[in-house]
């Protein structure tokens, strides 16, 4: 036992001291902070420019009202959209051609063409170099619609004051129902699920690669035989996997502290600089998600870590290893590809089956837990299957490792590996 502890200590100290670990650990929270802060900033900072929009109004009635309605303000209080009317000329087509040139010359960001029959169903046009600013197009569309609808209604003889009431838009709030009641949700669930699953995916691959490289280094530097003159191959393998797990926990602990601090204080910090951001609700994450996150990280780590250790013992160098690692990594990539499907229909039978498959479970079951807490029996079943598979993999990897770690030369064939497993 004392020998394994010494191996664990060695692995831990050697890795925690590397530049890669220190940079990764610092970069983690930075990325995490960026992940939380950037979307908020993008929402409130990027639209900080006045835009000049031309309007050709063939009805010559709509422009004044449009100018009134499109009153979105910039941070400094000035108008976001500066509308400029172009009186219709006799040759409209020529005029529009002219305006196209102005858009291309950047004198105008865009122009709006309002046909004479707009109230009777004619189509208005929005012409710009960039037509993917859905926020702006939405604003214009809403303003135009309400003006035209108001015109139609008042044409029917309705009281202009009543029209205002009738036109009041319906607001739609998204709420999430859970066992503990109904909560307001502003899209945070999606972001957090995606975020947690991504961390799990990255760290399992990252630490798996560290195990792989560690085993290969021991083997190719030939130090392994000296070490094995003191302890069993299984002890060495176990010590390595546990030591690197300890590194992982250290990193998670550091990230956890940053994460809690970030979710607690980031809003107040951001709001100080951008008061408008107070409208953005910080998503709250139930604590059971964190518990399952840690459980599935541990299980996923040990499942994939043992496989990586087994592979490391079979090969002579990292190049050879990458070929063998590819299919294993695919087992981690597939659930990432299936994420969108599972998020959309977390309780479909396909999602249930996929999340029970041990190689997918760490990612997909965690994702289902984040999106919509599945029945406990399903979670327990996936954890149990995962543990059984991990034990089986430890058994297989240990058998391969014991022989492979001392074998040099040609990479073994599948038949040879089966033979190794039968050696006394």
């Amino acid at each position: 036992m004392r020998k394994i502890l010494s191996v664990i200590k060695r692995e831990y100290i050697q890795i925690v001291r590397t530049k890669g670990f220190i940079i990764g650990t610092i970069l983690g929270p930075v990325l995490m902070a960026a992940f939380i802060v950037v979307p908020i900033l993008v929402q409130f900072v990027s639209v900080d420019q006045q835009e000049k929009i031309g309007v050709v109004d063939l009805t010559s009635e709509i422009f004044p009202e449009l100018d009134n309605k499109l009153d979105q303000k910039l941070k400094d209080g000035s108008r976001r959209y500066l509308l400029e009317e172009y009186k219709p000329e006799t040759n409209v087509e020529e005029q529009l051609e002219e305006l196209n040139k102005k858009v291309l010359d950047k004198q105008l960001t865009a122009y709006i063409f309002i046909p004479e029959d707009i109230s009777e169903g004619g189509e208005a046009e929005y012409v710009s170099e960039h037509v993917s600013d859905f926020d702006k197009q939405g604003n214009i569309n809403r303003a135009l619609s309400s003006i035209v609808i108001e015109k139609r209604l008042s044409g029917e003889g309705l009281d202009p004051e009543k029209i205002g009431q009738y036109m009041r838009p319906v607001s739609l709030t998204t709420k999430k129902v859970t066992k503990r009641g109904v909560e307001k949700d502003t899209g945070g669930t999606f972001i957090i699920s995606w975020f947690l699953v991504f961390i799990l995916y990255m760290t399992v691959i990252f630490y798996g690669q560290i195990i792989l490289r560690g085993v290969i280094e021991e083997k190719s530097s030939r130090v392994v035989e000296i070490v094995l003159s003191s302890l069993r191959p299984f002890q060495l393998m176990a010590g390595k996997i546990l030591g690197i797990a300890a590194v992982g926990f250290t990193q998670y602990a550091i990230w956890g502290v940053f994460g809690i601090a970030a979710t607690r204080y980031s809003k107040s910090i951001i709001t100080r600089f951008f008061p408008a951001a107070s409208a953005f609700d910080m998503p709250t994450i139930p604590s059971y998600i964190f518990i399952y996150f840690v459980v599935f990280f541990i299980l996923g780590y040990f499942l994939y870590g043992t496989i990586y250790a087994g592979i490391g013992s079979m090969v002579n160098n990292e190049k050879e290893a990458q070929q063998l690692v590819m299919p294993v990594t695919m087992f981690l990539v597939v659930p990432i590809l299936l994420m969108m499907f599972v998020i959309k229909s977390p309780n479909s039978s396909l999602s249930v089956i996929l999340s029970l498959i041990p190689f997918f479970a760490p990612i997909l079951m965690l994702l289902r837990i984040c999106v919509l807490l599945p029945p406990f029996t399903q979670i327990a079943a996936s954890i149990l299957l995962l543990i059984l598979t991990t034990v089986l993999m430890i058994w297989i990897s240990a058998k391969i490792y014991r022989v492979g770690i001392l074998m040099y030369g040609k990479r073994p064939s599948l038949g040879e590996i089966v033979k190794w497993m039968r050696y006394g």
Binding site: R2, K3, S6, V7, R10, I13, Q14, E217, E218, S221, R222, V223, V224, E225, I226, V227, L228, S229, S230, L231, R232, L406, Y408, K419, Y423, G424
Partner: protein, 306 residues
């Protein structure tokens, strides 16, 4: 008591026998050498003694006990394919490997410092291992083998790659260990070293034992019909003399095996007319000659060329 008893061990990998029915005994406090051409089964034998490879058949007893994991800390082992953790600092490396042998804390640290001083490596204690020269790394490896004062020291090809200075250092330490009552077993195919320090030898060829016993006794068995000749001149005629069974010519030096019932005196008479004889010694055959005799010319050439 025997430090090591190997009884009828066999190990095969598929159809290939690495070791077949091998038995030998090593008395405590002696130096024992395991000889044989490359691929003869020396390393496999040593790995079985170390419990790294499990024999298919047979028994191994170390210090009168069955080999088990607990025994590993009473053994010092220097593998043939040796290495160290390249990115660990020398001091940490030694401490880690000492801990694996059951040493701890102050005791381990003190021993490390003593050995580093003895090998003149104190300045390198905080350097990364990969910065050391090959010779220095070999010294570190040797320290890890003996730091826990093992009763039995197993060295697989300990002299390979060592320069003359380090070869002497290693030889001196081996003899010192022997004087302290420790037992040393080492494998090699370099006969000079074996002849100088071994008490007993075991010659293995193609997985099987060919010859075993006390070195002096073995040489006596071969009789005093070998002549070592130190000469100047053209000695090519010697091999055609009918009374001579075999020659091994080095240009200035020749080992000659006479046929039975031949008087060395007659040979000397023939030589003095044709070449200048600086030395003419009648003695037992060299281990090298015995090795070649037993293993066969072709096989031995493969070995010597290494």
């Amino acid at each position: 008591m025997n430090a090591l008893e190997v009884e009828n061990i066999t190990k095969s990998f598929g159809d290939f026998y690495a070791v077949k029915n091998l038995s030998f005994k090593i008395p405590e406090g002696t130096i024992y050498s395991l000889l044989g051409p490359n691929g003869a089964g020396k390393t496999t034998t040593i790995r079985m003694v170390m419990n790294i490879i499990i024999p298919d058949d047979g028994q191994i007893k170390i210090l009168d006990q069955k080999m088990d994991e607990g025994m590993k800390s009473r053994i010092g082992y220097l593998p043939e394919e040796r290495g160290l953790y390249p990115r660990m600092k020398v001091g940490e490396q030694l401490l880690f490997l000492a801990e694996q042998k059951g040493l701890h804390g102050q005791d381990a640290r003190k021993r490390i410092d003593n050995w580093l001083e003895r090998f003149d490596l104190t300045d390198w204690k905080f350097k990364k291992t990969e910065e050391l020269s090959r010779g220095m790394q070999q010294k570190i490896q040797f320290i890890t083998t003996v730091i826990h004062q093992p009763d039995l020291i197993i060295l697989d090809e300990p002299f390979s790659g060592l320069d003359p200075v380090n070869t002497k250092l290693l030889k001196d330490i081996m003899l010192e260990m022997k004087r302290q009552g420790n037992t040393i077993i080492f494998s090699t195919h370099r006969m000079e070293q074996v002849e100088m320090i071994s008490d007993n030898i075991c010659l293995i060829n193609k997985a099987e034992k060919v010859l075993e016993g006390n070195l002096n006794w073995i040489k006596q068995q071969y009789g005093k019909n070998t002549i070592v000749l130190d000469y100047v001149g053209d000695a090519s005629f010697i091999k055609d003399i009918p009374e001579i069974e075999k020659t091994d010519d080095y240009g200035k030096f020749m080992e000659i095996k006479l046929k039975e019932q031949t008087d060395p005196q007659d040979l000397l008479k023939r030589l003095v007319d044709k070449i200048r004889v600086n030395k003419f010694e009648v003695r037992e055959p060299s281990l090298n000659a015995i090795f070649i005799d037993k293993v066969g010319e072709k096989n031995a050439q493969d070995t010597v060329s290494h």
